[in-house]
């Protein structure tokens, strides 16, 4: 056998086994992606984490940021010094100012106008609001007040409703707003426009109207004084009421001794007389027949 390390002439160049394996490894797409993307990413993450942990850089950076921010926020140009609520009643304005929840003086950079607006709009008495920070340091809140149109007496208490049936305020007594008509019954708040129309139709007897009662959450009863009731149908209530008003105008129907005008079936209106009227009617009829008075 030849000596192992014989003077070999010249070996042809060949990749060493390590180099060969590394080349093959490098040609693996997954490995390549790992090295090209993963390793730099990991290095950057590690380096930043180490720096932050080592020198408490995070706290310093946060403090620096806060300081810079405060310096800007406390500029006089950004200060809000007053809140203006024009064109609303005084007590509502006070309510709005409280609901806006802005501690004066505040910085306009820290006050969120949208949040203020949503807080104000969540008030019952405000229908819509426009909030604006004016350049002279005034927070202007233009609110559109809800106007109460009816008083609703329900199991939950006595409430004032606007024309959409939305609660404006709660009152302890109906006598607080004697100028507004009264409605009652469950589900009446959902039909305020209809009630207003009916009351409009009832204007010939407006002085006698006590209120409207929602019956069975489906139809209205118009209640007058002297215990008189006009029962209105579910549909076509307005026509039925106008018929009654025509009868009132022509024959003074409601002046008579009636308890109920039942218009629920428009083809067959019914009248219910008081007991006294019935007995009087009997008597007159008998007299008419010529029998013993």
């Amino acid at each position: 056998m030849l000596p192992v390390r014989a003077a070999q002439p010249r070996r042809d160049p060949a990749p060493s086994r390590l180099r060969y394996r590394l080349t093959r490894l490098w040609l693996r797409p997954a490995f390549r992606r790992l090295v090209n993307l993963g390793v730099p990413l990991a290095a950057v993450l590690l380096a930043s984490w180490t720096l932050l942990a080592q020198f408490d850089l995070q706290a310093r950076a946060v403090a620096l940021y806060e300081k810079a921010r405060d310096a800007i926020v406390e500029q006089p140009q950004f200060t809000i010094t007053a809140i203006e609520v024009p064109d609303v009643s005084a007590d509502l304005a006070e309510q709005i100012k409280i609901a806006a929840f802005v501690n004066l003086p505040a910085s306009s950079l820290e006050v969120s106008v949208a949040a203020v607006r949503s807080r104000i709009e969540s008030l019952d008495a405000v229908e819509r609001a426009r909030v604006q920070i004016r350049s002279n340091g005034v927070l202007e809140i233009r609110a559109i007040e809800r106007m109460p149109v009816v008083v609703w007496r329900s199991e939950k208490g006595i409430q004032l409703l606007d024309q959409n049936g939305i609660r404006v305020a709660e009152v302890d007594s109906r006598l607080r707003r004697p100028d507004l008509p009264l409605i009652a019954g469950d589900g009446a708040d959902g039909h305020v426009p209809e009630a207003l129309l009916l009351l409009d139709d009832a204007h010939p007897v407006l002085g006698r109207v006590r209120g409207l009662v929602r019956v069975g959450e489906r139809r209205w009863d118009l209640v007058l004084d002297r215990g008189q009731t006009i029962r209105l149908p579910e549909t076509g209530a307005s026509e039925a009421l106008r018929r009654v008003m025509a009868l009132e105008a022509g024959e003074e129907l409601l002046e008579r001794d009636l308890v109920t005008v039942d218009m629920r079936d428009p083809r067959r209106p019914m009248l219910r007389l008081t007991e006294h009227a019935v007995s009087e009617l009997e008597r007159l009829r008998r007299m008419d027949m010529g029998e013993d008075a």
């Binding site: 070996r11 160049p13 060949a14 086994r17 060969y20 080349t23 093959r24």
Partner: protein, 444 residues
């Protein structure tokens, strides 16, 4: 045939199929003069139209995306003599091919030219089980073949069913689905020396590659250099390589015989080296630059300056005529061709319908070889270049790359071999679980 070999070949088939599914496979020709490597990419084609188009892998459609070759070291007669050197050579070729392809490959199909290949024709007969011939019947008939005792130091690398005979109708290449009763098969068995084969497999393993098939080099060469008519009507392919000369005979598209003469271009070079007293490198250079086989009048006057052994310009200057060089080369070529003729005679080549002879391999580039071969082999000869393959670099289109290209063609459309068919169940020895599972699968 032992069980182990069958399983080994099956495993290589599985790996080859896996590689084809991934679309990248490499072929490696480990020859005596050079190790060449091609990376093949199988391009999936779209089948269907519009939205329901899906990629389909057609095996024929491949392109070469990487090619590299290097001088081989540590290989003699196609067999590995120095594992370390051979590994280095393979690494060089593989790395070059990978670099060109910019793609890593794991599976490699290898051509093996050494190991003294020997051919056996074996026959088997069986009865078809139910009417039409099925795959199981073919497996059965292949298992029925009487395997000759080829010695304990050899292994089979090819077992090609070349001819099926169904009820005395012979000449069937694919009897599947045909009706018949008696099925017979002629199988071509190629064996090589076991140690040489195992050395090669070990060397591939050392290069971190997975072997997806071993092909006898003469077989691969013939696939690339014989045209279709020649394969069909009968032809011999003579691959004159560096250390060995492969002979393979094809008829009806099947290889029916293969053999190798352990002589080749290296012997011509060493003849020149000894006869003219020059170094091996100079002899190789003279052979390729001035070599020839037929001396004419002008060759006597064509003087060749011999390089001095000592490298002196002054002292030792010799000149020979080209005809002297031819006189050295020709006897060796004649010897090789005579050996080839002996092999052809032994194989019964003269009974084939057409007897074309195709010369290929690196040494087929010697001018005048065709004439000499025609004289000695007594038939018309031609020098065959490998078929054209998409993407093959121009430098790899010569005759010396026939085996490499042939390997690529073999990978793209391989012939069915014995191990492509299931072994019949009674031959499965201890694999009871597998049998039980198969029984369940077939009966439910």
């Amino acid at each position: 045939m032992n069980r182990h070999l069958y399983d080994l070949q099956r495993a290589m088939r599985t790996r080859r199929d896996a590689a084809l599914r991934r679309g990248v496979i490499a072929v490696l020709d480990i020859g005596t003069t050079k190790v060449s490597c091609l990376v093949l990419q199988f391009v999936p084609e779209e089948e269907g139209e519009g939205a329901n188009a899906r990629p389909v892998l057609r095996q024929g459609a491949f392109r070469v995306i990487g090619a590299a070759n290097t001088r081989s070291r540590g290989i003699a007669f196609g067999e590995i003599t120095s594992m370390d050197e051979c590994e280095r050579a393979i690494r060089t070729a593989v790395q070059g091919a990978q670099k060109m392809a910019n793609l890593r490959f794991d599976h490699v199909v290898v051509a093996f030219s050494g190991g003294r290949p020997r051919s056996y024709g074996v026959t088997g007969e069986t009865e078809v089980e139910n009417g039409a011939v099925t795959e199981a019947d073919i497996g059965q008939v292949l298992a029925e073949c009487e395997i000759p005792d080829y010695g304990h130091d050899r292994d089979a690398i090819h077992a090609l069913p070349v001819n099926f005979c169904l009820d005395h109708r012979t000449g069937l290449t694919d009897p599947r689905g045909q009706i018949g009763r008696d099925l017979a098969v002629d199988m071509h068995l190629v064996t090589v020396a076991r140690t040489a084969l195992h050395n090669l497999m070990h060397c591939i393993r050392r290069c971190d590659l997975e072997l997806a098939g071993i092909v006898a080099a003469p077989y691969a060469t013939a696939l690339a250099s014989l045209i279709e008519d020649e394969q069909e009507l009968g032809a011999a392919c003579i691959d004159i390589g560096g250390g060995s000369t492969g002979v393979s005979i094809f008829v009806r598209r099947q290889m029916i015989y293969t053999d190798a003469v352990r002589m080749g271009g290296h012997h011509i070079t060493s003849d020149i080296c000894q006869g003219l007293q020059v170094s091996m490198q100079d002899a190789e250079r003279m052979k390729t630059k001035h070599g020839g086989l037929i001396a004419t009048g002008i060759d006597d006057r064509d003087m060749i300056e011999l390089p001095s052994i000592l490298g002196d310009w002054d002292h030792e200057r010799r000149q020979i005529s080209r005809s002297e060089l031819i006189g050295v080369m020709r006897p060796r070529v004649e010897e090789i061709l005579e050996e080839v003729r002996a092999r052809l005679d032994a194989s019964g080549f003269e009974y084939l319908p057409s007897q074309r002879i195709v010369l290929t391999g690196g040494s087929a580039q010697i001018p005048g070889l065709e004439t000499i071969a025609s004289h000695i082999l007594g038939r018309q000869c031609r020098v065959g270049k490998p078929l054209r393959v998409q993407g093959l670099p121009q430098s790899a289109t010569g005759t010396s790359f026939s085996t490499t290209v042939g390997l690529a063609m073999h990978v793209s459309c391989p012939h069915d071999e014995w191990w492509d068919f299931e072994m019949p169940q009674d031959r499965h020895g201890a694999r009871k679980v597998v049998r039980a599972l198969r029984w369940f699968k077939e009966n439910w």
